[in-house]
Amino acid sequence: MTVPVFDPATLPADGNVNPYTFCVELQGSQWFLQKGKMIAYYGQIEFNGIGHGALERLVRTSFHSPLHAGDWVVAQGSGKMLLADRAFDVNSFDLDDGNLTIRAGNLLAYQPSLALKQSIVPGFLTLIGTGKFVAASNGPVVFMEPPMRVDPQALVGWADCPSPCHHYDHGYVRRAGGTPWSSGVESLGAGGLRAMTGIGGASGEEHQFEFVGAGTVLLQSSETLMPEQATGAVPHEPGVPGGGAGHGGTGGQGPLGSGMPRMPGQLGDLQRRFGL
């Protein structure tokens, strides 16, 4: 058994090297890239933060998430670069005049022909347009069609269908709601409160995301949630879901454990800044 040796000529152009490594070819073109996901590159490639002045026009058309501006960079130049993320499965997907919403931590890179926006669901990002993007998942991605309910931890994203709603099983609703059947102690129980508010991240199998309508739901074949960066809180505004503090991500906490948005120019959190 011989292990293949790759060089710039034999690396695929915009394809998988193995299930865990993706190769992007740049020919004077640009890609948006999440910080720290590049593992190696051949050629002349430059990495610039979103706030870099020369990228003004590109950012105006393709990047619309101030909360994530500190986490993304633009790679430009010519050569081939390898992307990978914690040895998770990596795949590229094509959108053709479409839309897809994905967990913020799972999106590794996308072509600027797509526009990135924050989903109305906190912790998720929506890509709109035509182009290619690269996403990571813990285990291969499985495609399903609504109507269906999915475990929150297995959800990677969804395309074309309406955003999901929370579904709580009857037992949970009864315990949390302080209904006539439940005792007073139970109705104040932390489990019930957590289940109702989502605070504390408790989600057993009593809680699912429910999808209806026509579209595709993307699931990962694992319930291990990828450690995510704090995605920050959306502004305090009437009518903005999750506008309260502390509701930042749907999953993990950032290194500082805060729900504060990460703005360019903010001090602290140096590790993230260096992309290592």
């Binding site: 590049m38 190696a40 590159y41 706030g51 990978a84 993320d85 903010q266």
Partner: protein, 210 residues
């Protein structure tokens, strides 16, 4: 004779010869085997002094016998490397096993090593024979030629072999300190002729905390 059984278990057939392997990495054997503790950083008194000074400690064991011995380490992917007189540089934490005929030693790597969080020294393996490397996810082997130098993220670097010069390349600018850097502040640049092994995952590095 090294052989992969699946991608996460190394099987070594032995007929009276011996291999060096990471301490505690044996998962099974058949036949007759004897296990003896060794230490990395080179043999003898000089090796011992080197180990003390460099901190590049590797607790190795020598396995000798007849039969088959299986090795594995925390379900990490295993990559086989054949050496034909050339030198392999590898992080000691990424080295699983080598033919006993291969010489292991310690070299100074300078800033590059520091940026990886593994100290200023790295392990070298030299001679003729096989070595087994472990990585987080299967390693990708990239060829470096004079016309195609390669830049690697220090957190994804596993090993390299051949005639390669390496240097630390910094993308740190004033923007980095304002949170608008390129996100890839340090890279290892390889020039010359040889192979570089990278893993599809980035371990945390000291440079990441700088």
């Amino acid at each position: 004779m090294f052989r992969l059984q699946g991608s996460k278990v190394l099987a070594v057939e032995m007929t009276g010869d011996s291999v060096h392997a990471k301490n505690g990495s044996m998962v099974a054997y058949d036949g007759e085997m004897a296990f003896k503790k060794l230490s990395g950083g080179g043999e003898g008194l000089r090796g011992m002094v080197t180990r003390r000074l460099t901190g590049e400690q590797m607790t190795l064991m020598e396995v000798k016998g007849r039969g088959t011995c299986w090795f594995a380490d925390r379900a990490s992917e295993i990559n086989l490397v054949s050496l034909r007189g050339d030198k392999l540089h590898v992080e000691s934490s990424n080295l699983l096993a080598t033919d006993a005929g291969l010489r292991t030693g310690t070299t100074f790597t300078g800033l590059r090593g520091a940026s990886q969080g593994n100290g200023l020294f790295t392990t070298t393996v030299e001679g003729h024979g096989q070595a087994a490397l472990i990585s987080d996810g299967p390693a990708v082997v990239l060829r470096v030629t004079p016309q195609y130098p390669l830049s690697v993220d220090p957190g994804a670097y596993v090993a390299h072999q051949g005639e390669l010069r390496q240097s630390l390349q910094s993308g740190v600018t004033f923007r980095t300190f304002f949170g608008e850097g390129g996100g890839e502040a340090f890279q290892m640049r390889f020039e010359g002729d040889g192979l570089v092994y990278v893993q599809p995952s980035e371990r945390n590095t000291v440079a990441g905390d700088v």
